[in-house]
């Protein structure tokens, strides 16, 4: 048997029972790799449950800095009896299987192409830890200690991390460190020179941070001056609001300790968006965060916001649908539901962040964008981006930056008006009109906001032409939006490349890795990462410039492909879907294999009779 051998380049999977404290132990492992300066990418693949169901935590360690999912497992830590057999089968040949040998493996665990590492975790815990309540949690720390030895990790970074983690409760640090040592010692006694994978200190991450997308999104909202939040708890978006709450409690209090923000946990998502809309209508920056099922409910008020032209920011941390779907698994499957949310003719501005850095930047920009365009802006994050930690560079806030509040007339401007004012009167020809906040002026600027058809002066109308002109003006505004939403990132790898890849959001890292993999095999591919909707001319130009386009996305129906075809008038043959829909983050090997398979299928037709 050839053992898998590498330094700083492998994937380890932890299989646990949820609710046992495993996530924090596994996160400790990932953090230690990060603190050793090695690029690392943890993915928590967890159930929609509080206690007792299978949960996995994958950590990719990559000296080269590949942070997407790779595919395949080199080392599995199998702590969950329910999934032991599946975990055993999932291990790559030559890999390592660490399990709790308190119970011996049954006969049919008979692979001879892997290395077994049996450690009696339960026995050691029962013997060494007096308090039975602490045993399940400390069992996790025990295997982290063992792994530290097996992977030849710098042990002091582990103990330092524990000390840091428990700096406020130093009493808890000692038993944790002791368990790390117990695991480490057991492995060093019984499994010396067994594992050929290792983590060596590197200097790849000098200034980087390890952050989840939801915290970055929340920070963006804090920095861009959002004050009012309406929200309803839903995985995986809840932590956006929790982080906003935490940051504003810390950095947004007045002299007397009162809050410069209002966070209302509402009765449902209808109300959550209603609160955000009411606040924005009244001149405060506001937002809400939700996921697919919430978007379905919010569609009603998204239509109102679109038609009445009320700015609002909606963070959609997507999860696997349809319906309740898989609430704790990732997907990019709300593209169409968001692009055209609500009845009647509606279109919404979408942003597609691919990293915490972009979560922060796009979150901050979305408020400027929404207020400039006076329309909803939807930040299309997903569970993988939102809830997992990602290595990224710290963001910068330009202290000279000024909030762009859009076309709003204040009291003085109303007094000095020399021309006719109507809330929906397009004076500048860009489809964007001037609004006023309630309470601004004793006699000027009041108007009636409504979701019913309105004339340029906000009066109710059923006049056909007036209605039509209003709808056409909204299209003009849509054209204006094209110049304001972030454009695509295009990488023309090779001028002779005839194949282009289109992708967005969390498919980015794995796709860039797949492109490198294929490049090594002699296949040159151009790439375009979409960052916003509506699409600019660059997007259609890129498609025009290539014979074949693959659209890579994490949903079943190729929703982005549909959107591209629909909005840019491309024929279906031009765009081929590569979809990944199982609810786990897309991986590089899958993309690579899919492209190769599709090209093989299409190659025989090349040069043939038309």
């Amino acid at each position: 048997m050839k053992k898998l051998t590498s330094v700083n380049d492998f994937v380890i999977r932890f299989a646990n029972v949820n609710g046992s404290g495993s996530a924090s132990a596994n996160n400790l492992f990932a953090k230690v790799v990060f603190r050793l300066g090695v690029p690392v990418s943890p993915k928590n693949i967890f159930p929609s449950n509080i206690q007792g169901l299978p949960t996995w935590y994958e950590v990719r360690v990559s000296e080269q800095g590949y942070l997407g999912r790779r595919g395949g497992y080199d080392f599995i830590v199998a702590i969950n009896g329910q999934t032991l057999e599946k975990d055993y089968d999932d291990l790559l040949p030559g890999g390592y299987f660490l399990y709790d040998s308190t119970r011996t493996l049954s006969e049919h665990f008979n692979r001879n192409d892997i290395t077994l590492i049996g450690i009696p975790l339960t026995d050691i815990c029962n013997r060494e830890i007096e308090n039975p309540k602490l045993r399940p949690m400390l069992k996790n720390i025990l295997y982290v200690g063992a792994i530290a030895f097996l992977l030849d990790m710098d042990f002091s970074v582990l103990t330092d991390s524990i000390t840091k983690q428990f700096s406020k409760k130093p009493k808890l640090a000692a038993p944790n460190i002791r368990c790390l040592e117990l695991g480490f010692d057991y492995a060093s006694t019984h499994f010396k020179d067994v594992c050929n994978l290792s983590v060596k200190r590197s200097n790849k991450l000098d200034s980087h941070i390890l952050m989840d997308g939801n915290s970055a999104t929340a920070l963006g909202a804090v920095y861009s001056g959002a004050t009012v939040v309406g929200w309803y708890p839903i995985t995986p978006s809840t932590s956006v609001i929790e982080a906003f709450d935490k940051f504003t409690r810390q950095y947004r209090l007045d002299e007397s300790g009162k809050r410069k923000s209002a966070i209302i946990q509402s009765e449902d998502e209808l109300s959550a968006l209603g609160i955000a809309l009411g606040a924005s209508w009244n001149g405060a920056r506001s937002f809400t965060a939700t996921s697919g099922p919430g978007v379905s409910l919010m569609s009603e008020l998204l239509g109102l916001a679109y038609f009445a032209e009320i700015p609002v920011v909606l963070v959609n941390v997507q999860r696997a649908g349809p319906s309740t779907g898989m609430p704790t698994r990732t997907q990019q499957s709300d593209i169409l539901a968001c692009a055209y949310a609500s009845h009647g003719d509606t279109k919404h501005v979408l942003l597609f962040p691919c990293s915490p850095t972009e979560c922060f930047e796009m979150s901050a920009d979305s408020f400027d964008l929404a207020e400039t365009l006076q329309t909803p802006v939807i930040l299309m994050s997903d569970l993988d981006l939102g809830m997992n930690d990602h290595v990224c560079l710290p963001m910068e806030w330009d202290d000279d930056r000024q909030y762009r509040r859009g076309k709003v007339l204040d009291r003085e401007q109303l007094d000095n008006l020399t021309q006719d004012w109507g809330r929906y009167l397009d004076i500048d020809g860009d489809g964007i009109c001037y609004r006023t906040y309630p309470g601004t002026h004793p006699s000027k600027g009041a108007f009636f906001t409504r979701g019913s058809s309105h004339d340029p002066y906000a009066g109710y109308t059923e006049d056909n032409d007036t209605y039509k002109r209003c709808m056409q003006r909204l299209l003009k505004k849509w054209q204006t939006a094209k110049g304001l939403v972030p454009g695509p990132h295009i990488k023309t790898h090779d001028k002779t490349s005839t194949i282009g890849l289109i992708f967005y959001g969390t498919s980015a890292q794995a796709t860039y890795e797949a492109v490198e993999m294929l490049d090594k095999k002699g296949l040159a591919l151009d790439t375009m990462r979409l960052r916003g909707f509506p699409f600019q001319n660059e997007v259609s130009d890129f498609i025009d410039q290539h014979e074949k386009i693959f659209v890579i996305e994490q949903n079943r129906d190729g929703q982005m492909r549909t959107l591209l075809m629909n909005e840019l008038n491309f024929v279906p043959d031009k765009l081929t879907s590569i979809t990944h829909i199982d609810g786990t983050p897309i991986d590089a090997r899958y993309i690579c294999q899919s492209i190769e398979a599709l090209l093989e299928k299409t190659l025989p037709h090349k040069g043939g009779a038309a």
């Binding site: 004050t227 007045d254 007397s256 209603g274 906040y437 409504r450």
Partner: protein, 350 residues
């Protein structure tokens, strides 16, 4: 739509403390049916705002969908209005209030808008004790869709369609008391003498104030068999008592017999003096209010007037401890922590 009302006003019209005439509080012409109870409520709102010398532009008026929700167009033309979507006015009002605590908020809704499609939002609005006046123009039917029964239609009541309603009615006042509302009143669009003071008291109350106004639908639900018809309500209403709303500046001069009068001091220093018809009814006690409503219901009567008042409650802003300045006036300097702080925050992610 343009108002057809003449712009000319008689110079001798009475003026309030702001120097405004009643016409300064008017809106566009109503497009509701002639004789609609809602127009009387609209007039009541105009009168109450005029008498209280409220600055029209410091009011935001909000509504949902339905005949009642059209009425904000018919009063306070100088105020911003928001005719939202069906049953969602409570959330819009919550957000608006969070953004600017210094404006007054008047919400207008109907029985379909509040007791059916919007009951979830209504319930939670009451729980949050949002500082606003919430007026329900309650006619027991869906007017705009031509007369279907609503959830406040009494069991056994029959509209123009002729079939009696087989379902239990929701009593919004009783529900609001149970949910902890600080001000709950019921009026009748046909009784202006009672309605205007009720609206004034509601406007002076800090926190959530419900005014449920029975406002007959002349077109679909004004039959002899309907318990929401003009005649029925006139014959069966029973006032909890009379009361005076005494603004802060005004001296209390009237004198009533000891024991029958209950004084409640409002947040702004105004006082409500209640002169009760029944001495055992204490409007400041939830249980007493609910008993009174239920007792009258059992007797086939409709209890009107102030049904419950509690001036000791905190409103939403107090509860969630927002700063004293309206949030929509905070500047970038007051909201953005700056780059140096950002870099410090990132230290915790290393």
């Amino acid at each position: 739509m343009n108002s057809r009302k003449p712009v000319f006003r008689h110079p001798g019209l009475p003026k309030n403390d702001l120097g405004c005439t009643r016409s300064d509080y008017e809106g566009l012409d109503s497009t509701l049916c002639a004789g609609c109870g809602h127009d009387s409520v609209t007039n009541g709102i105009i009168q109450a705002c005029f008498e209280l010398s409220i600055e029209p532009h410091r009011v935001a008026k909000l509504s949902g969908i339905g005949c009642s929700s059209k009425t904000p167009a018919y009063f306070l033309n100088k105020s911003h209005g928001f005719n939202s979507v069906h049953g969602r006015m409570p959330s819009i009002a919550t957000g608006a209030n969070m953004a600017n605590k210094d404006l007054s908020y008047i919400g207008v809704s109907g029985d379909g808008d509040t007791a059916s499609i919007g009951i979830g939002q209504f319930v939670h609005l009451v729980r949050r004790n949002l500082n606003m006046v919430y007026i329900v123009m309650n006619n027991g039917c869906y007017g705009l869709t031509k007369g279907q029964d609503s959830a406040t239609a009494d069991k056994g009541s029959a509209s123009k369609k002729g079939r009696s309603n087989p379902f239990e009615a929701i009593d919004l006042c009783e529900m609001a008391v149970q949910l902890g509302a600080g001000f709950v009143a019921r009026g009748f669009s046909g009784d202006k003498e009672q309605l205007v003071p009720l609206l004034k008291a509601a406007m002076l109350h800090k926190g959530f104030a419900l005014v449920d106004v029975i406002s007959p639908c002349v077109t679909f639900n004004n039959t002899a068999s309907s318990t929401k018809s003009y005649n029925w309500v006139r014959d069966h209403m029973e006032a909890s008592g009379t009361f005076d709303v005494i603004p802060e500046r005004q001296e209390i001069t009237t004198h009533y017999e000891e024991g029958a009068t209950q004084s409640v001091a409002l947040h702004d220093g105004s006082v409500i003096q209640l002169h009760k018809s029944d001495n055992s009814f204490d409007v400041t006690q939830r249980r007493s209010a609910i008993n009174a409503i239920e007792d009258h219901r059992e007797k086939g009567q409709i209890l009107t007037g102030i049904l419950h008042i509690n001036e000791t409650l905190m409103d939403t802003h107090d509860i969630i401890e927002t700063t004293d300045k309206p949030l929509n006036t905070l500047t970038q300097e007051e909201l953005c922590p700056g780059n140096q702080t950002l870099q410090q925050i990132f230290e915790t992610y290393r």
